[in-house]
Symmetry: C4
Subunit: 264 residues, 4 copies
């Protein structure tokens, strides 16, 4: 086994076999959790001002680790995504969703060196890297099942989202024309009205914007009741997908009938 | 193929075959999206006053296109809805839900020429015409499935809505008698009380109206808990319908048993 | 057919056969709707003061009709509930849920003649009599299905309600001890705290009462998240019941296998 | 039967047979309900000051009973959890969840004798002991079914909770950076922002904290819509588990095919 292969076995996320690989993955997950904790603590202005140097050092340390890890993954990309050319493997790796998240996790620290924009809050996306945790434990199958269910039903769910969007636009427009007359500060335009529509359809109802005219309340009530349907529809779709998965698995487990050679 | 048939093939929504037809449908969908965008932008008073002429020209342009399209569909109605008489075909077309939406999309612009009522906000119904988008792509089956599920269960869902309505009326009346005494401004009559009932049962809870008496809060709690049931009931109904659809399809796919000639 | 039998055929709710019976049922349903409309209109103080006499006359008229109908049902109770003695039949009728509703619908008008308590708001329970509408139309099966589903799962749903209640009591008590210290006006005692718990668990969230301490917000968040489970549990139970009903029906429709004489 | 065995048969929760055991269990349940009622009443300052002595006596009485019961259970632990050594049996009993609840129910009254901390509010946990009620009645199977469903799906539900938590952290951080600029009092740090995130994702929406910037409202809308998915996912998972349980039971009831000896 070459040195490069050894490195791949160390940094790869799927290789569950070796102990060093598991240790490395746990270390990265631990570092991610520490990073998220740091981001949360930094948001307290008093803590930030007291320990600003410690936070800075920890940030540099983390980014160096994440950068090395990222480069090693680029280096061993041809093991992960075998291709004719090395460029092809690296290209496939760089454009994979997980690699993009990995890049977003380190980029915000380098960016201020080039352009004067503070994108440090993007660092929270490091948390997405914690999905790596699922790959090395028993929750892997559950995550795969849920992902498959969403994939199987993406078309049905897509239609639901589309219809919801149409509903929101129509409700917002009607509400703008009805309530905008009497509450011009709450419904100044359709975009502002859209905020009300989302808060109502999802049944959040903060209470910052609500109709006061009879007609506005009537439409609001209809939207809120449709909100019930909005919950019922994707739930029904997902339920049926979960049940179908269970049944499919059970069917696959069933033995053949000895008399006719068919599944029982 | 006659000239009339060619026009029908161009403007029809279901004909997925020809390239010009697809191009025409995409153009209409694109024009609908532009129209909706214009309506949203017009709601910003500053944008409206600055570009009022541009909005006016675009509106005239859109309505002319939509009117021509509508007339061509009336003209070719006998291809779509074959009938003994031409009047019969046109009548069937004019009374179809989609044709009514098409008419509502252009009527608001013509109406002010006749009667001095501003119904321009009805223009947002043009958005409903975007359902045409579903007819020309892969989401067609999903939309059909969802529509079928609602159709199959319309009786069960209808009962749910009816029972919900009865519940709302009773809760509103009780609340008017209980809370109306201490909060006459919030519960002045049963219709106002109904607004509270809808906001509570759908769990929106804006917070503009809420009970302050012990008895009122007790009833409010019961209504809110019944709201959970209100979500559970249609969800259960829709879930069972989706599962039934999947199972029906699967059963239809199953082969016959060779020994007894029946379905396995 | 005796005169008494003729009357029974007229006033009975289940007899769908004869035209006079249908007409009578529709008349009663119509009268119920008018009564509910009157109750709603009466809640507007201006309408009430203007048409107080009309409302009074209509109320007397309605109660006379409902009373006569009630007495005729008592009179013909032995057809509906055959029993050895006439007293037995009448007793069974008087204690049936629908007869109790019928009595509650007329009693509030007679009561003030005896005791000086205004229970007129109970009149809204007349609305419950509208269930009669279901008995004479196509929604009958849907209502029966939903009732059966609730009956089949009453034990599972009962446990859900019980666990919910335990959860609410514990959350209320904790919240009283935590938030009662800093917001004694919002959480003065556990009963007041219970109001917050219900509004949170059902995700209504009016916004009249909410935690402001860190610990209180933590517990509030847990309760709100458990509220998701509170929706998920009964929905799952009802879904499974609806699906079981459909499958049972389908199984009953399946023919027997000719080779082994068993169901396919 | 030894005296010790008789005591075990009296205090054990699962023994449904004997009448004294049932009476003892009902007495304990009754005492628990009285305790909870006392805790609720004590929260009213006026009631507490008037009847402080009665509450004190009742508390002492309850704790004595609960303590004796607890000690008898420890004494008879080797019947419940047979083990080689008596210490082993007692250890298994003491570490069982129900025994821990039993201990928590009496400890708060003894603690102030040792350390000066008021943990009396923990007494509400006595309510958890009411689960004993389920063990002695017909709801036993329903509770077992619900517990099994959660156990079967603990992995899927765990992933849902984990993903929800990740979502909440990311949303809170984004919101802190966006809204913290314009509403520093509402979004002072990420923990405070987390409170908003929970209230939005669960669709509670108290209205104490809500975004006012366009970008903040956009993200809030996305979170609220994802909240719909948060309801749909566990509901789908639980639905499928309930249906699977019903189907499994039905399959187990089905007889064998006489021709091939397999299940039909």
């Amino acid at each position: 086994m070459t040195f490069k292969h050894k490195i791949f076995n160390l940094v790869d996320e799927n290789n569950k076999g070796s102990l060093p690989n598991r240790a490395f993955n746990i270390f990265i997950v631990f570092l991610i959790i520490l990073n998220v904790t740091a981001i949360v603590l930094e948001s307290f202005s008093r803590i930030k001002s007291t320990y600003s140097q410690e936070f800075y050092i920890f940030e540099i340390f983390s980014v160096v680790i994440f950068t090395i890890e990222y480069l090693l993954r680029v280096y061993t990309a041809d093991f992960k995504y075998p291709s004719k050319t090395k460029i092809g493997s690296i290209g496939t790796f760089l454009s994979s969703p997980l690699a993009i998240i990995d890049l977003l996790a380190i980029l915000p620290t380098y960016l201020p060196l080039i352009i004067p924009i503070d994108l440090r809050f993007i660092r929270i996306l490091r948390l997405l890297r914690i999905t790596r945790l699922f790959k090395i434990n028993r929750y892997s199958n559950s995550l795969k099942l849920i992902a498959e269910v969403f994939k199987d039903k993406r078309s049905d769910l897509g239609v639901t989202i589309f219809v919801t969007f149409i509903l929101l636009v129509i409700a917002s427009t009607l509400m703008y024309y009805i309530e905008g007359q009497v509450q011009p500060d709450k419904f100044p335009n359709i975009i502002a009205s859209f905020w009300w529509a989302v808060a109502t359809l999802t049944t959040v109802g903060y209470g910052d914007v609500y109709p006061i005219t009879g007609l506005g309340q009537f439409i609001s009530g209809i939207i809120a009741l449709l909100g019930i349907g909005l919950v019922a529809l994707p739930t029904g779709i997902l339920s049926s997908a979960f049940i179908d998965k269970i049944n499919s698995k059970r069917r696959a487990d069933v033995e053949k009938c000895p008399t006719c050679g068919r599944d029982l």
